[in-house]
Subunit: 144 residues, 2 copies
DNA sequence: CCTAGGCTCTGTAGTTGGTACAGGCTCAAT
DNA sequence: ATTGAGCCTGTACCAACTACAGAGCCTAGG
């Protein structure tokens, strides 16, 4: 994985895009996408125009992927990264972002639970028979 | 709202797209979109090429909107409508669709709950102070 | 009668978060 | 020398809408 490039006196391990993808489990194309939208930095290029990543990029991509797993939007990820990169990030600022995201996660859960309640109570009334009368259709057709 | 068109011997109330939008609360453009993707039927046109809806379209659009509110995808809506339109729909068939949708709603709830747990327990460790150490950032940066 | 504004029509582009090609280079191994 | 893998770019596609431009039509007010 990766290849070495002579850099004056030492040999530096360089990661190509495919290496980064394998190391992180991220889709190959997604890496380029993240670069395009500015959440991954533009890496240096080799003489043949290949992206040359290093360990710092692995860390950055893992950060992004973890935040995405926690449901942060890419906009929110950008905000988090800006705080981290700014070097002036405070726990309070990050807490603010995380809390507002938490609120939206909770709102989504509530929405889905409401849907689940309606749907499960309606389906529970189904006979499941080969008859055309169906409580689910009735609920959707209802003239309220 | 609407306008009348002389139709041989009686006058028929015709709804324009804007009327349908107001009656159902659906966005104007969404109606055209639903027509394009085939969940709303192509309505008859007036001589001036305006869409001419009637009460049946109001019912159809409300059905779609209710199904969407219950989180059915438009593909699932299409299936439901095909069953209803087919006239041979049985309660069992509809129940099948609703149940599989219910399963995916429950899966989404579980996902979000997991996210909520991780996020809230992490945020709970924040001091909220003006210090750079932050449990949220640590969790995202963690070298596992 | 004329004009302004409001409605409608069409096609097309933007949104979010990616994914997947096509067509062309480069590189290592056979 | 050639094959295959990997990389490069731009672009198109997915859901489910939303929005806008540019044109046509219709009605009410002056």
């Amino acid at each position: 994985m990766g290849f070495s490039v002579k850099n004056r006196h030492r040999s530096v391990k360089v990661l190509r895009r495919g290496d980064l993808a394998k190391l992180t489990g991220c889709n190959l194309e997604t890496i380029r996408y993240y670069e395009n939208i500015g959440v991954m930095p533009e890496p240096p290029r080799t003489s043949k125009n290949y992206r040359a990543y290093d360990e710092s990029h692995v860390g950055r991509l893992r950060f992004i992927m973890r935040a995405r797993e926690l449901g942060f939007t890419l906009d929110e990820v950008r905000d988090l990264l800006a705080l981290v990169d700014g070097g002036v990030q405070t726990c309070g600022e990050v807490q603010g972002l995380a809390n507002s995201h938490l609120a939206s996660v909770r709102a989504k859960i509530d929405d889905l639970k409401r849907i689940e309640r309606v749907l499960s109570s309606t389906v529970a009334q189904c006979t499941g028979d080969d008859v055309p009368e169906c409580p689910v259709i009735d609920a959707l057709t209802e003239v309220t």
